[in-house]
């Protein structure tokens, strides 16, 4: 996942790499996601999130819909 200055620059990058356009989030959402994902990483009790827990974390920050679905 990469950072871009605008939608136009995402389109240019997709064209350059011959890739279809994917999903986007705001920087604020990415910061929220980073906190959801990594705040407990140094805990001795850390374990990987289950697919359900990860999906719930996405939903909390507004990442819903087919693109953000973790299981097929």
């Amino acid at each position: 996942m990469l950072l871009f200055r605008s939608e136009l620059h995402i389109d240019r990058w997709c064209q350059q790499w011959n890739r279809p356009r994917g999903g986007t989030m705001t920087l604020a959402q990415c910061w929220q996601l980073a906190r959801e994902w990594y705040a407990d990483r140094l805990s001795p009790d850390w374990r990987p999130k289950t697919a359900g827990e990860a999906q719930a974390a996405f939903a909390r920050i507004g990442l819903t819909g087919e693109f953000w679905r973790l299981s097929r």
Partner: protein
């Protein structure tokens, strides 16, 4: 995850935080008084969750959110610096450490400087969009392009 895996996981993070680089397999084995075989097996188990990922030679490639190799996402926290695997992980280093951070990021399209600053748990910048090229269900099929 076994008790040894858990110890190894925390050792890897402790090493990264102290030395600003990932430990080699032999360094991990020596520090934990384990054989190379045991250490490699533990790293493979820890890679099943994708929290750790290995290079072709078996050395660590990423111990999320840290990258073992240089990336376009350098993160500075105080006097120390690391590389994030992506913008999510670069922000994740600050989130993980609960510390202020400066991320020297750029636009992936044109290399325009887009430095980010986290202060007291808040991201100062608002401009910028994060793009995921691959749907969530396929993220680990092509990590580089995700």
């Amino acid at each position: 995850m076994t008790a040894h895996d858990s110890t190894l996981r925390l050792y890897v993070y402790d090493h990264i935080l102290r030395h600003e680089q990932t430990p080699s397999v032999s360094e991990i084995a020596k520090a934990l008084k384990a054989s190379l075989r045991e250490t490699r097996a533990a790293l493979v188990r820890l890679s099943e969750s994708h929290a750790f990922m290995l290079q072709e030679d078996g050395e660590l490639w990423r111990a999320a959110p840290f990258s073992a190799v240089p990336t376009p996402f350098p993160v500075r926290v105080g006097k120390k610096s690391w590389y994030g695997n992506c913008i999510w992980d670069a922000l994740g280093i600050s989130a993980m450490l609960a510390k202020d951070a400066d991320i020297n990021s750029t636009c992936a399209c044109c290399n325009f400087a887009m430095p980010l600053h986290i202060r007291s748990g808040k991201l100062k910048e608002k401009a910028g969009i994060v793009h995921f090229a691959v749907p969530a269900c396929r993220w680990y099929e092509d990590v580089v392009f995700t």
